[in-house]
């Protein structure tokens, strides 16, 4: 029953050597992704969620970026050791990526048709008429009406949601085994976001792909991901099956995020939101201990001194991991009792 491991990331560490100092962007990220699995990577800006994915794909500018250490095995091959030419054969074919901003990730001076068929000709060796036919099928698949005619249109003739559909069509063109979606709906309106999520869910089953969905919105991944991975300051702080992370939260950062979100389906009754104090750390001067300790009301002395490793949670789901020195269940219980007592 155990599915095959598709992507095995080991101790990925990425730094940016800038004029203002070294930015510790990704610090020892380790995880496995199985075939057909959807992984939701959640974090705020600067948490390293996008940079870690871009690094795996060899898409960070080097310099200033540098992959200090780590291995990324994709079907047994270490992506970080591939040459640029070898990597080019993986990108778009085996692993495809869609980005946040469909305005800037399409070339404005080439038609949509040219851009979709490029990958088909390059990776699958199709000729012109074959690739055009396939491109039209793909546009049809992602719900663009009049697909054949629209192949000759330019990106500016499409709306934001339609452009993101084009990006998805391009991503799917070579039947990739893994699709990395980097905040693909953040720039879109909520009704269009719902359209895109629905489309991706349906296509994922059809194409039997694994997916990494990077977002800052816990709501989006709640209904989409099998596994959730929360990142903070370049580290994974909690990881587990979606339901476990939401219902049996073990990390104070995840817990704080979930509590600070107002709910659409519940009347607020004008209750104050529980806020996380302070702001994310400057990753040029990473704190010595747990980076979240300064903002964490439950932090212990050990948190401030020593970075906690990502370990299986006690008495929890075997696939559920969290990085903290405290047991969130008991400290929350204690805090609630104190609040009642006073």
């Amino acid at each position: 029953m155990e599915k095959n491991v598709l992507l095995d990331v080991k101790d990925l560490t990425v730094r940016f050597h800038t004029q203002e100092g070294v930015v510790y962007a990704v610090n020892g990220v380790t995880y496995k992704l199985h075939e057909g699995e959807t992984l939701g990577v959640v974090g705020e800006s600067g948490s390293g969620k996008s940079v870690h994915a871009l690094s795996m794909m060899g898409l960070i500018p080097r310099p200033p970026g540098k992959i200090e250490k780590g291995e990324v095995f994709f079907e047994g091959r270490d992506l970080l050791k591939l040459t640029d030419d070898q990597m080019r054969l993986v990108r778009g074919k085996e692993i495809a990526m869609i980005f946040q901003d469909p305005m800037t990730s399409l070339n404005p001076v080439l038609t949509i048709g040219t851009q979709i068929t490029e990958a088909l000709r390059l990776h699958l060796g199709m000729n012109n008429s074959q690739s055009r036919k396939r491109a039209a099928e793909l546009l049809d698949l992602v719900g663009i009406p009049d697909a054949h005619k629209r192949l000759d249109d330019y990106p500016h003739q499409f709306s934001g949601g339609m452009r993101q559909r084009v990006m998805i069509a391009m991503g799917l063109s070579c039947n990739p085994k893994l699709l990395i979606a980097d905040e693909p709906t953040t720039a879109l309106d909520v009704t269009i976001q719902a359209q895109i999520i629905e489309l991706v869910k349906q296509l994922k089953d059809e194409f039997n792909m694994a997916m990494i969905w990077i977002t800052h919105d816990l709501g989006v991944v709640a209904g989409l991901a099998d596994t959730i991975q929360v990142m903070y300051a370049g580290r994974i702080v909690e990881r587990g099956p979606t339901r476990e992370v939401f219902t049996d939260t073990r990390n104070a950062y995840t817990w704080g995020l979930l509590n600070s979100l107002p709910r659409l389906d519940k009347s607020g009754g004008r209750q104050r939101l529980v806020q996380i104090e302070g702001s994310p750390p400057d990753m040029r001067i990473p704190p010595t201990g747990d980076p979240f300790a300064v903002r964490n009301p439950f932090a212990t002395d050990r948190c401030r001194e020593e970075i906690p490793p990502l370990l299986p949670v006690p008495e929890g789901h075997p696939e559920h991991f969290s990085a903290n020195w405290y047991d969130l269940r008991s400290v929350v219980k204690q805090a609630n009792a104190e609040a009642k007592g006073s």
């Binding site: 705020e44 800006s45 709306s159 949601g161 339609m162 309106d189 909520v190 009704t191 269009i192 976001q193 719902a194 359209q195 999520i197 629905e198 800052h216 919105d217 816990l218 709501g219 989006v220 709640a222 209904g223 979606t242 339901r243 939401f246 219902t247 704080g256 995020l257 979930l258 600070s260 979100l261 107002p262 709910r263 659409l264 389906d265 009347s267 607020g268 004008r270 104050r272 939101l273 529980v274 806020q275 996380i276 104090e277 702001s279 994310p280 903002r295």
Partner: protein, 341 residues
């Protein structure tokens, strides 16, 4: 003449601070080089009427391009309205002479979305916040003014020690606090919050929202809260108005609108918002609306929403755009389906 029957007016007896009546803002589309002529208009705001009650937070929600920000700016006369009336504290703003309008601005301020673009990078925090004080000649004495600015900084949760720093030295959340301090400097009674938290990280949003709520309670402020984050709007707003293509399609008490949305657009909009709870997400039925927002330069015939509406029928295509009608006390909707039965 009484078109304001569809004005979503407050119940009589409530203390209205702002009345907007049949407000329109059309941006001209011109054609031609040197000699330009108008060939059309973007109907950004098209006949919008509502009241804001003193001390409340009225939410204005909708997707990008629906005219919510333009409405906020037209109220403050930052965009000259094409037609309609804006009454603030009983005074008509659209025809007010510029010197009077300037005095009026003391009472009505705005907080902008982008904390990076809305603060002058060449001015210190102190001079940004004290500029409105100088313009309106409040605290002519320099030390008094400085003391007041420091107290404002403290009030919004910033260290008064930062007074001589420049905006680039602050994070997004701190910059938004500076923007709030600037808006508070003249002790306004009404603030337009134009997407004040959209540009902020999730963990910072709650901080800013809590601050806005605290300030409202302490200072008795009235907010027009423009946003597209519907979960946050439910939390912060007493009443909410939903806009689509330049018009208000539904207005009512927040819980009423969220629990019992009448307009099919509101229903679709609410069902599209993801909820951070896998158990709820599993059970939810999404209403996926087709297509994209039509261009406000060329709105569809009949009801504005008929091109995407899941329940449109014949009437929606040829009858004029439905009017905003009070369906249950205080709950207004503009839909032929709702008002037919």
């Amino acid at each position: 003449m009484e078109k304001s029957k569809s004005a979503a007016t407050a119940q009589s007896g409530s203390d209205v601070i702002l009345s907007v009546r049949n407000l329109k803002k059309h941006f001209p589309i011109t054609s031609g080089f040197i000699i330009q002529r108008q060939v059309g208009a973007v109907r950004a705001v098209d006949d919008v009427s509502f009241d804001v009650i003193r001390g409340e937070t009225l939410g204005l929600v909708g997707e990008s391009g629906c005219g919510k920000s333009t409405t906020g700016r037209a109220i403050l006369q930052l965009h000259k309205p094409t037609a309609g009336n804006v009454l603030f504290e009983g005074k008509e703003l659209t025809t007010m002479a510029p010197p009077d309008m300037r005095r009026m601005r003391r009472q009505m301020q705005i907080i902008f979305q982008d904390p990076f673009a809305s603060l002058n990078p060449r001015m210190t925090v102190g001079s940004i916040i004290s500029e409105p004080l100088q313009i309106h000649n409040i605290y002519p004495n320099k030390t008094e003014r400085q003391d007041f600015v420091e107290s404002l900084l403290q009030r919004v949760g910033l260290n008064p020690y930062f007074i001589n720093r420049y905006p680039h030295e602050f994070s997004g959340g701190q910059r938004q606090r500076i923007g709030i301090a600037r808006a508070l400097a003249l002790s306004p009674s009404f603030i337009v919050c134009d997407e004040p938290i959209s540009a902020l990280d999730v963990s910072i949003q709650a901080q800013v929202v809590n601050l806005l709520e605290d300030l409202q309670q302490e200072l008795g402020l009235t907010y027009l809260f423009i946003a597209h984050d519907l979960s946050m709007v439910r939390h912060i707003c007493d009443r909410v108005a939903v806009m689509y293509l330049g018009k208000i399609v539904e207005l009512g008490r927040t819980d009423e609108v969220y629990d019992n949305p009448l307009h099919p657009y509101t229903q679709a909009l609410l069902s599209a918002v993801p909820v951070p709870d896998p158990t709820v997400e599993e059970k939810r039925q999404r209403i996926i609306i087709r297509g994209d927002l039509p261009s406000p330069a060329n709105p569809p015939l009949g009801c504005n929403f008929n091109t995407r509406c899941p329940v449109e029928f014949e009437l929606c295509h040829h009858a004029p755009d439905p009017e905003l009608i009070e369906v249950t006390p205080g709950h207004w909707a503009a839909c032929h389906r709702v008002t037919q039965y």
